[in-house]
């Protein structure tokens, strides 16, 4: 039924650090008394603020309107009063955020859910619902999802894949979500399949979650839905879109995702699509993993966008030891936070507090040519060679040796015994190559 493809590379098995126990339920985090909602939670230009300080907002009300086709709507995650609009420090830089003090009644939470049928809706109606809800790719791309779904049917999208492999090691929010919301995710997949005109639906799950394939097959049978389950190895970076697509196709990784006749959507995105289309709920909360060896009780939390990161750790029993760094996202690709004041955004799949300082920003030792990075690279690149070419100012040459295929997954830097910041250098090399091309 299902083959487990084994790429000869992509062999990173990061150390298990205080993981959320498998099968642990998703815990609802407390509603924050103050929500700090950044107006930029997606790729592309920030949303345009449509509220003023002092204004009362309802739960799920639009507070930032998409500014251009690449932008996405931002909604208030709590009812209350806008206190101020001020810049906050996010990993990518300073971003304007709306600060809302909790107050007034909840319109949605605690009320009975009214589900709507969607089968009768037109393609455009469905797309506009997805767009209005401000859904972005939660697998890490953060591109507005309606753009991905806007491919016309008949454009040759063969297969629509629900990616249930967590995008980072030690995060398990997607797995927890699949366990609790399997039917909703399947419904979301059906909506996307219909939008894309896909002939085949597939759900990809991790090898470690051995109960999920059976669970999904029951769900599909109950829904009378034709959908395959593909099992991927529990190694990083199998959750990457291109590797998932390669596994589904049985082809070599490294082909541009646009070139393969398929679309990959993260299960959290599919769940958000279901909520938007069927329940008319915008993206104001998400499930994320709080973990790391400094955390007392690692948990998967359902969190409102705009909640302070520090509050999440309080929710998980606080710290057992002082954290040396706190990462927004996962340990391989996430961004180190300057402070615990940063808010949770739509794209936050996890929050990791590590007690050890771990890898520093610069090379600890010279390259000893061990070749471990070569074996770690899932795309078959030679990171050490690209690194040296870039250091010699030959980024263009590095480009011709495959630099553009680097996805910055971090495997090479993880494996490097000399702690050479390969990802940082390769990213700089891509920038240099792009500048050389355009100027």
């Amino acid at each position: 039924m299902k083959g487990t493809p084994l790429f000869p590379r992509a062999d990173i098995v990061p150390p298990d650090e205080n993981l959320v126990p498998r099968g642990a339920p998703i815990v609802n985090a407390a509603v924050p008394s103050t929500a700090v909602i950044p107006l930029l939670q997606h790729e592309g230009p920030p949303a345009r603020c449509v509220v003023r300080p002092g204004e009362h907002v309802r739960e799920g009300m639009v507070i930032g309107k998409a500014d251009g086709p690449l932008s996405a709507n931002v909604h208030s995650s709590i009812p209350g009063t806008v206190r101020e609009i001020l810049p906050v420090e996010m990993p990518g830089g300073s971003v304007d955020a709306v600060v809302i003090d909790l107050g007034g009644e909840f319109d949605r939470s605690g009320r009975p859910r009214v589900s709507r049928t969607w089968e009768a809706l037109s393609r455009l109606d469905l797309l506009s619902r997805v767009q209005a809800a401000g859904i972005v790719g939660l697998g890490g791309s953060l591109l507005p999802t309606h753009l991905k779904l806007a491919t016309a049917p008949g454009a040759g999208v063969e297969v629509c894949v629900a990616n249930g492999v967590d995008c980072e090691p030690s995060l398990s929010a997607d797995n927890a979500l699949m366990r609790e919301k399997g039917a909703e995710i399947a419904e979301g997949l059906r909506i996307c399949g219909r939008l894309l005109g896909a002939r085949r639906l597939v759900i990809a799950v991790s090898e470690e979650e051995d109960d999920l394939p059976g669970m999904f097959e029951r769900v599909f049978r109950a829904k009378d839905m034709a959908c395959d389950v593909v099992v991927l190895p529990a190694r990083y970076p199998y959750g990457h879109e291109q590797l998932v697509m390669a596994a589904v196709n049985g082809s070599a990784p490294g082909v541009e995702p646009g070139a393969t006749p398929g679309k990959v959507l993260n299960v959290a995105t599919l769940h958000a699509i279901y909520e938007a289309v069927v329940l008319d709920r915008p993206m104001i909360e998400r499930v994320l993993t709080v973990t790391g060896d400094a955390v007392a009780q690692p948990r998967n939390l359902k969190v409102r966008v705009g909640t302070r990161v520090g509050d999440l750790f309080d929710e998980c029993g606080g710290f057992t030891r002082p954290p040396a760094r706190v990462v927004l996202g996962g340990p391989m690709r996430g961004s180190a936070l300057p402070s615990l004041e940063a808010p949770v955004t739509k794209g936050t799949a996890g929050v990791v507090a590590l007690s050890r300082a771990g890898a520093g920003p610069c090379a600890a030792y010279p390259c000893i040519r061990c070749g471990l990075c070569v074996e770690a690279c899932p795309w078959g690149l030679v990171p050490v060679r690209l690194y040296k070419l870039i250091r010699q100012g030959r980024a263009g040459h590095a480009e011709s040796e495959g630099l553009s295929r680097c996805t910055e997954c971090g495997c090479c830097a993880f494996a490097c015994p000399s702690n050479i910041p390969l990802v940082t250098e390769l990213r700089a090399g891509k920038r240099a190559a792009a500048e050389a091309k355009h100027g």
């Binding site: 040296k388 250091r391 010699q392 100012g393």
Partner: protein
């Protein structure tokens, strides 16, 4: 090509590029060999730089001057002829005055003519208009090459044989009993030349360049 400023550059180039390393590696295992070889080379270099500009007018047709900084073939042939003649003279003189030393150096004295070519001097001399302007840089090169031979020979003899031979052989105690014979081999010469080249890069004014460093 403007006389006075260039010697230092030429001296360094001769060593940094390890030009003429063949004879240097082959003969510089005893100090006395290095010194004799250095004198012989110096004499030939000086002779060529004096004679070539004198005869150049006679053998060079004006229309044959190429566009680049290379000498016309006729002048190159002339230079080779002159240096070969001078080399033969030096070899005969050495044979007459120091027969034992001449036997030791063997083929490497005639090879001076080839070293001249490889040192790149012939090409530049052929373009020099007058003996005076040719002499200054040539003496610089000759002196540098001589110094190189003497230094390398001294280092290799001390480390590789534990002796110093100049007129008579002096033994250096414990080193002479069990010397590091690797320095007597060609590889020892290359190691010495390498460190000399590195030392020259440290001199002020040298065009020490960093090549990115990593392979």
């Amino acid at each position: 090509m403007n006389g006075a400023g260039s010697p230092s550059r030429h001296e360094r180039r001769a060593i940094v590029l390890v030009l003429g390393a063949g004879p240097a590696a082959a003969v510089s295992t005893r100090l006395v060999d290095g010194v004799v070889m250095a004198i012989a080379t110096f004499v030939v270099l000086a002779g060529v730089s004096l004679l070539l500009p004198l005869v150049r007018r006679g053998i060079q047709r004006d229309d044959a001057v190429g566009p680049g900084p290379t000498a016309p073939p006729a002048v190159l042939w002339g230079a080779l002829l002159i240096s070969s003649c001078l080399t033969a003279l030096v070899e005969l003189a050495l044979n007459a005055l120091m027969p034992a030393e001449s036997a030791r150096l063997g083929i490497y004295v005639p090879l001076i003519a080839v070293s001249m070519l490889t040192m790149g001097r012939v090409d530049e001399l052929a373009l020099c208009p007058s003996p005076a302007r040719a002499l200054a840089p040539t003496l610089g090169v000759g002196a540098a090459y001589a110094a190189l031979l003497v230094i390398v020979a001294l280092a290799r003899e001390v480390l590789g044989s534990g002796t110093i031979t100049l007129g008579r052989t002096t033994s250096l105690g414990i080193l002479a009993d069990d010397p590091a014979r690797a320095f007597g081999l060609a590889a020892g010469a290359l190691i010495c030349l390498g460190y000399l080249a590195a030392a020259l890069r440290l001199l002020p004014g040298s065009r020490a360049r960093s090549d990115g460093g990593e392979r």
